[in-house]
Amino acid sequence: MTNLKKLAALGLAGAMTLGMLSGCGSNGSSDASGDANASADGEKFVVGYCNGADSDVFMVARKDALIEKVKAEGANIDLQFADANQDSTKQLGDADTFIAKGVDLLVLVPNDAEAIVPAVESANAAGIPVVCLGIKAASGDYIYVGSENYDAGHMQGEYLAKTLPENAKVLYLAGTAGMQHSTDRREGFLVALDEAGRSDVEVLADLDGNYEMAKAMQITEDWIQKYPQFDAIVAANDQMALGAVEALKGANRLEGVQVTGVDGLAEAYTAIQNGEMVQTILQDAPGQATAAYEVMTKLMKGETSDKEVLVPFQSVTADNVADYAG
C-alpha cells in the first residue's frame, strides 16, 4: 500500500528534524513556491492559488483534484500555491505576493469573508481576475465557485425532518464560532426543520466543536453524561460527526442516535455503510475543482464567466452511499 511509501518518508522526517541542529528552525508555513511543473514560461496562464489551510482535509482534497485535472487535461496552466495556514493576515500577504508577480488569475480560498476583502480589492485594482473558491468574500469584484453552506445545513435538516421520531431531541455540534460558514450551516439546518413543520424537535444543546474530532468527542462524552436520551447529533463537519460516533460507541449509546455530518469524507462513507452515521453532505471537492478549472479555461481564452458557479452539495445516505464510496 501507499502507506509503505509514506513510511519511507519517516526517514525524511528524521533528517528534517536533524536539519534543525544547525540551529535554524525552518518555518514550514511560508511556501509560496511554485508547483513542480511551474516554469517562468510566458506562454502559460499563471494562476496564483491562495489556500486557506493545507492542514484542512477538504481544502487539500480540492486543491489536489485541481492539480490532477490540470495535469489530466494537459492544459497550459501554471498553478502556483500559497498556504495561509488558517491565518487571515498571512493570506493577504500571500495574495499580495501573487498580485506583485502579475499572475493571470488569483484563486482565493478565504479564511474569512471580511478579512479577504483587501486582497480582492487589490487584485481588482491591478486588473487581475479573482475566483473565490468555496467561501465568498464579503465584497469586491470576483467570480464565486463553490457551494452554498446554507444548503448543506438545509439538507441535514430535510433528512432528519423525515426520519426523526416525534418530539425528538437533537444535539448540534457547531463549527468554529465566528466563521460565516459555521453560521450558515446552522441556520440552514434550523430553517429546514422549521419549513418541514417539525417544531416538536428540540435542540437540547449547541456547542462549538471547532471542526475538530477530539473536541467534538469530548463534548459528546459530556452530553452522554448529561442527557440520558437523545435521537440525533448534527455536526457541522464530518470530523466532528466521526468524533461523536467514537464517543457514542465508547459509551454504548450509538444505537438509536442518528449522526450526520458535512464534507463527504471517505471515513464518513464507511461509517454510513457500517450504520454508524446516517448522512453526510458531500461538499464536492472534485466538482468544485472541475468548475474552477472550467472558469480558468474560459478566462484563458478571453471569454467571460458567470459571476457565480454553484456546485451543489449532495446528500449521501445509506441509500446512495454505494455510488460515492470507493
Binding site: A9, A13, M16, E212, A214, Q218, E221
Partner: protein
C-alpha cells in the same frame, strides 16, 4: 531569627495545600450547581478526557521545574501519533495485529525520545532558550505530520489500536490506568531518584548545582527525554482514542498541559513543582471544561473562563510566595 516559632502562615499553608483546596472547592461547587455532574460515570469520563493533556503535563513538568518550557507538545503528539498509526497500518498485515501494536508503540516511543533528545541537545549545546527551540519544533513537527500523511487522517488500523484509548479493564478505562501508572512513575522519578533531586537543584540554582558536582546540562537533556517520552505516550493515546491519526489535531494542547502545571502550583521560574499538583491542576481544568459543557456555556465564555483560570492561578501563586517570603 532562625528560632522563629512555627506560627500559622496562610501563605505557607496555601503554598502546600492550596491546589488541593481549590480542587475541593471547585468539585463541591460543581456537585452543587451542575446537574448530572456527580456520578461515577461522569467522574470516570473526566479522567478519561484529561488523560492526554495530563500526561503531557507530567512530561513538561520536568522541563518547567528546570525553568525551561516546551511549546511544541501539540505538534509533537500529532507527528508521533500519526507515525504510530502509519506504522500500525504498514505492518499489521505482515506480523499480526498484536505484534504490530507493539511495533507501533515502540516506534512512537523511539520518535518521542528522538524529538526530546534533539530538543535537549540543541538547547544545552547552543544555549538557545527552550521557548525559541520548541517554537521552531512546533512548525517543523506539524509540517512533518502533514507531509507524512498528505494532510489526510490516517485510518485503517486494526481495532486493537483503538483499545488503548477506548478500552476498559473492568469499569476503568485503559487510558485512566495508563495515566495513573505514569503518575506513580513520574512521582517516583521526581521525588525518589537522584535525577529528581538534581532536577530541583538545577532548577532552583544551576550555579549551586554545578558547584555541587552536578552536570546541569545532562540533567536538562534527561528532562527533555522524559518530556519526549510522555509526548509519545500521549500521542498514541490521543490517536487511539479517536481511532484515526489526525495530523492537524492537538493544536494548543501544550498550553493546556502548561496550564495544568501552573494551576497545580508549578512556578514557571523553575525550582518548584509537584506531579501531584499537576494531576490536580489537570483535574481542575477538566472539571471546569466538563461543567461548562454540561451547562451548555457557549464557546466564547469557555475561552474567557479558561484564560481567567490561568491568570488567577498565577496571581495566587505569586502572591502567596511573596507572603511566604515576607514571613521569614
Amino acid at each position: 531569627m532562625e528560632k522563629t516559632k512555627e506560627k500559622f502562615n496562610f501563605g505557607k499553608f496555601y503554598g502546600k495545600y492550596g491546589t488541593f483546596l481549590l480542587l475541593v472547592v471547585i468539585f463541591l461547587a460543581a456537585c452543587l450547581f451542575v446537574p448530572d455532574f456527580f456520578g461515577k460515570d461522569n467522574l470516570t469520563n473526566i479522567l478519561r478526557q484529561i488523560a492526554v493533556v495530563t500526561i503531557l503535563g507530567f512530561g513538561v513538568e520536568f522541563v518547567i521545574i528546570l525553568g525551561h518550557i516546551n511549546v511544541a507538545l501539540g505538534s509533537e503528539i500529532a507527528l508521533i501519533g500519526c507515525v504510530s498509526c502509519m506504522v500500525m497500518v504498514a505492518v499489521q498485515g505482515s506480523m499480526g495485529a498484536g505484534m504490530a501494536l507493539v511495533v507501533s508503540i515502540l516506534s512512537a516511543l523511539a520518535l518521542g525520545l528522538l524529538i526530546g533528545g534533539i530538543n535537549g541537545f540543541v538547547i544545552t549545546k547552543f544555549d538557545i532558550p527552550a521557548f525559541i527551540m520548541t517554537l521552531a519544533v512546533t512548525t517543523v513537527a506539524r509540517g512533518g505530520a502533514l507531509l507524512l500523511t498528505g494532510g489526510k487522517p490516517v485510518s485503517g488500523m486494526d481495532s486493537i489500536y483503538k483499545s488503548i484509548g477506548q478500552g476498559y479493564v473492568g469499569p476503568i478505562p485503559i487510558s485512566v490506568i495508563i495515566l495513573l501508572i505514569l503518575f506513580v512513575i513520574c512521582w517516583v522519578i521526581l521525588n525518589k531518584t537522584r535525577f529528581g533531586r538534581h532536577l530541583f537543584a538545577v532548577g532552583g540554582n544551576a550555579n549551586a548545582a554545578e558547584a555541587s558536582g552536578i552536570k546541569s546540562k545532562s540533567v536538562v537533556r534527561k528532562a527533555f527525554l522524559i518530556d519526549g517520552l510522555m509526548a509519545a505516550i500521549a500521542g498514541v493515546l490521543f490517536m487511539s482514542r479517536m481511532g484515526t491519526g489526525q495530523p492537524s489535531a492537538g493544536v494548543s494542547y501544550e498550553f493546556d498541559a502548561i496550564t495544568a502545571c501552573v494551576v497545580g502550583g508549578t512556578s514557571l521560574a523553575g525550582g518548584s513543582g509537584t506531579i501531584t499538583g499537576t494531576l490536580i491542576g489537570a483535574v481542575i481544568v477538566g472539571i471546569i471544561n466538563n461543567a461548562q459543557n454540561l451547562l451548555g456555556i457557549n464557546a466564547y465564555w469557555q475561552q474567557i473562563v479558561k484564560g481567567l483560570i490561568i491568570l488567577v492561578a498565577v496571581i495566587v501563586d505569586v502572591v502567596t510566595k511573596r507572603a511566604a517570603a515576607k514571613a521569614k
